[in-house]
């Protein structure tokens, strides 16, 4: 299970966001370059259609692979009251032939993306990961070297934290309070509910860039 919120930011303000995150987390950023392959089950396979994502971490000297399954979001009155999305998510690291294995099992390529950016991992009431990345599409199958941005000038910001059935309320509140610190630069909300860029971003970014993040926002 994980708690997740998303937002967008103009590329020109990403450097300011990085300075802010650096100041808030006190850890170094990690470079991020992930080839994400989304597979769907073939027409007759499984009682319902299923979807699985294969993530190839291209930042490593030897690319490493992860299988990720994202399940349904938590529903009900309780889920609506909290400002983050709580959903099931299972990951498994796998050997590099995982794509071939899923093709043999009858899964088909649905779409693929290349995420390029950076991430911060830190503990702040929960094990939070912030990723800031541009989403790129491939013009030819698997051609990550020839990827082009899907939304030029705009980057995706995602804040996630692992949770369990017992801890999700606490984790959600830790994620929400962290997001408030980022509010002058961007607004984060449940995935699928886009709130656009925030009007204060330019001024907040200018302020951050001028004093290196020392100002209390």
């Amino acid at each position: 299970m994980e708690c997740v919120v998303q937002g967008i930011i103009e590329t020109q303000h990403v450097e300011a966001l990085e300075i802010l995150l650096q100041g808030l987390c006190g850890v170094q950023r990690e470079r991020l370059r992930i080839h994400e392959i989304c597979l769907k089950s073939g027409p007759n396979l499984g009682p319902v259609a299923s979807e699985v994502r294969l993530l190839c971490d291209l930042e490593q000297a030897e690319p490493s692979w992860t299988v990720r399954h994202i399940g349904g979001a938590m529903r009900g009155a309780g889920a609506e009251q909290i400002s983050v999305l709580v959903r099931t998510m299972v990951e498994s690291k796998a050997s590099k032939n995982v794509l071939r294995m899923f093709y043999l099992l009858g899964y088909k390529l649905d779409h693929e993306l290349l995420r390029v950016g950076f991430s911060f991992h830190f503990n702040r009431g929960a094990q939070i990961t912030v990723t800031v990345s541009s989403i790129n599409k491939m013009l030819k199958v698997h051609a990550t070297d020839e990827a082009v941005p899907v939304t030029p000038g705009i980057q995706l910001v995602e804040v996630t934290a692992p949770a369990t059935g017992e801890t999700y309320a606490e984790v959600a509140s830790a994620v929400s309070s962290f997001c408030e610190y980022l509010a002058p630069l961007l607004h984060l909300s449940k995935p699928g509910i886009s709130t656009g860029v925030v009007p204060t971003a330019a001024a907040a970014a200018a302020s951050l860039m001028s004093d290196g993040g020392g100002t209390t926002l």
Binding site: N44, G46, V67, H69, A94, S95, M101, G106
Partner: protein, 218 residues
Amino acid sequence: MTVKWILHWTPTQGSVVNSQILNEISQCVESFNAVKDGRWKATLTFYRPNLRDPTIPSEFPRDFLGISLLEQPNKYYFIIRGNKIILEADSTILTIMEKLQSYKSKVALNFEGVQYKMGDFQMKVVKVVPNQGESLRGILIEIEYLPISSIEKAKPIMEEFLELWREVMSKKSLPGHFSQAEPHFAEYKLPDNYTSQHTAIQYAAALAQLIASAQLRG
């Protein structure tokens, strides 16, 4: 570091495996001045595609196997023997497969072994039993040489040990013999350096032999 060879018991025409033979084999191992060193377990599971409409002819792997090994509790292995592919994944892959519902486990077999230590060697006497039930379906032995991890370099040492083993076994005049299924590591694109993936492939190959011989007799 380690290299393992896995051999399966092939009964002579007209005979079947039974616990008497298993006991005799264990006695042979003990006669090597071996010290019992605990129990071991692996589980092999056959998966079948979960088809929405089984009447539509579709091409899916018929021999899709999953393997868990006691020595790698956080890993799981998937093998499609027909395509010579082995996948090593974290054991959370089982949760993912359950959620996908595209394949379901059909039959599971437990490989239950008693481990023996003898200097640089280790041996396991392994009985193959269904996941539910006690009936003996097959007998395997695993011979492990600890100081080396190169399969090629270990080969002459393993062959020598196997010769000794066969000599001891021959004194018992049991109705059958141990044979080794060709594991085809290179076809699975595995290196000469021995890993748990090699072990998983050998157990899958040994199981295929057991099934084939049972089908031939049956």
